[in-house]
Subunit: 227 residues, 2 copies
DNA sequence: TTTGATAATTAGGCTAGTCTAATACCCTGT
DNA sequence: ACAGGGTATTAGACTAGCCTAATTATCAAA
């Protein structure tokens, strides 16, 4: 009844499938391959093994989805990752741009116990430093409809909820610009042809955000209700 | 000039060789095999690879020793391990019996940066929770002549410096008995035929310590000079 | 000095995970 | 209805690490 522990690779594959199927649908072989920086045949092989162990559902030539068991394992990994990121930033002085890589390695090595100790030390955080929701120990994750800054119409007021990126340099830049989770913005303008979005922060400062970055800034409407 | 990163296995082998050669001499194949819970041929194979990469010196049918490079790598792992153990006990409420296993997994996943952050948060500790010296970031380790409680002659006063064990149950028991690093003891008696050593703690309490445990308690003389 | 016990090594095989090259499948556009 | 292009899978090979069984080396004792 109790399964063998998952390998690092398997844990990574499950996480990828989770992220790729989060909006519904199937994860394709090539998307997984790209996300894990691995050749497509490696993915085919792994998908075969994972479906044999009941972690994913594989429809050949179509793609894969997580089984409930696979989803549980994936959410556990995501919880680990996000708790680690939170702990590193809040307790060990890490910059939010540097935590991803560290958490990526640690998530495969930490025990459940350690994660829960860290979560407790942080007061059971609900969001990681990038604003992403942290699954509960029981495997529940908050699902919110968010819209990227690039899609938000001019004139709207929004709260920046989550930054969907993990590259140190971009994150560092965004922090310099004050574009961190929790800030309130008003979209004052947008240039045509996929041009930049111009926003005003609460302190009156104006920022020009190019499309590449605007697509990473997930927002929710701020109908003048606080956080 | 810069070598490929070491694998988990390699890191473990190097640590074993370090511990087995610490008192001088060679580490034998079967000792390494036993320490790592692996079959002797696996060790032979690994020793071959490690001597090709210059981490150990292998004298066939004699044993192995670390090269300076191998020693550096081993000490780095030991620093990681002991900083982790210290951090877990002091910052996350771990019992000193439970830290070994956790550190054993984490030491292969942490970055240098994280270790130094933890060390800093702890105030650059010099000893881990079991009293073992922590190598410096530069690769220096304190070497002290210690004597086990089982060898200490009756009548002597000693300070318990280091507990050379990593089994949760034994460590838990020792803590209950007040036999933790730093306590001062007087050896009041010893039963013959490898019998127990009887000690008196500073608070007047008497403890009877069987030989198996007494061999794990490393002491230094306490000639009435405090720590 | 030979022998026999013990320890080390070599031989050969297994799994997980990766790769490249070759093949099979699916779907869209004509 | 089917031909191509693109994606997925299979075939086959490689590495790190591990194993067991067979062989070889060492050393101490007769």
């Amino acid at each position: 009844m109790d399964s063998p522990p998952l390998t690092r690779s398997v844990e990574d594959y499950l996480k990828s499938v989770f992220h790729l199927t989060n909006q519904g649908g199937f994860a394709t072989t090539s998307d997984i391959a790209e996300m894990l920086a691995v050749a497509p045949p490696s993915v085919s092989g792994m998908m075969k093994r994972l479906s044999e162990t009941g972690l994913i559902e594989h429809v050949p030539y179509r793609g894969v989805q997580l089984t409930p068991q696979g989803r549980r394992a994936a959410l556990q990994m995501i919880r680990r990752h996000r708790i680690l990121e939170s702990y590193l930033t809040r307790k060990l002085g890490y910059d939010w741009g540097d935590v991803h890589g560290e958490a990526e390695r640690l998530e495969h090595a930490v025990s459940e116990k350690l994660i829960e100790r860290m979560a407790e030390a942080l007061g059971e955080p609900r969001y990681d430093p990038h604003g992403a929701p942290i699954p509960t120990a029981g495997g529940e994750i908050e699902e919110t409809e968010l819209v990227t800054l690039a899609e938000t119409e001019v004139g709207r007021a929004v709260i920046l909820q989550e930054v969907g990126d993990e590259h140190p340099a971009r994150l560092h830049y965004l922090a310099e610009q004050g574009l961190v989770p929790g800030v309130r913005l008003t979209i004052t303008d947008r240039q045509p042809f996929n041009g930049p979005t111009i926003v005003r922060l609460m302190d009156g400062v104006t920022r020009v955000v190019g499309q590449e970055l605007a697509l990473l800034l997930f927002c929710r409407p701020s109908d003048s209700d606080g956080e």
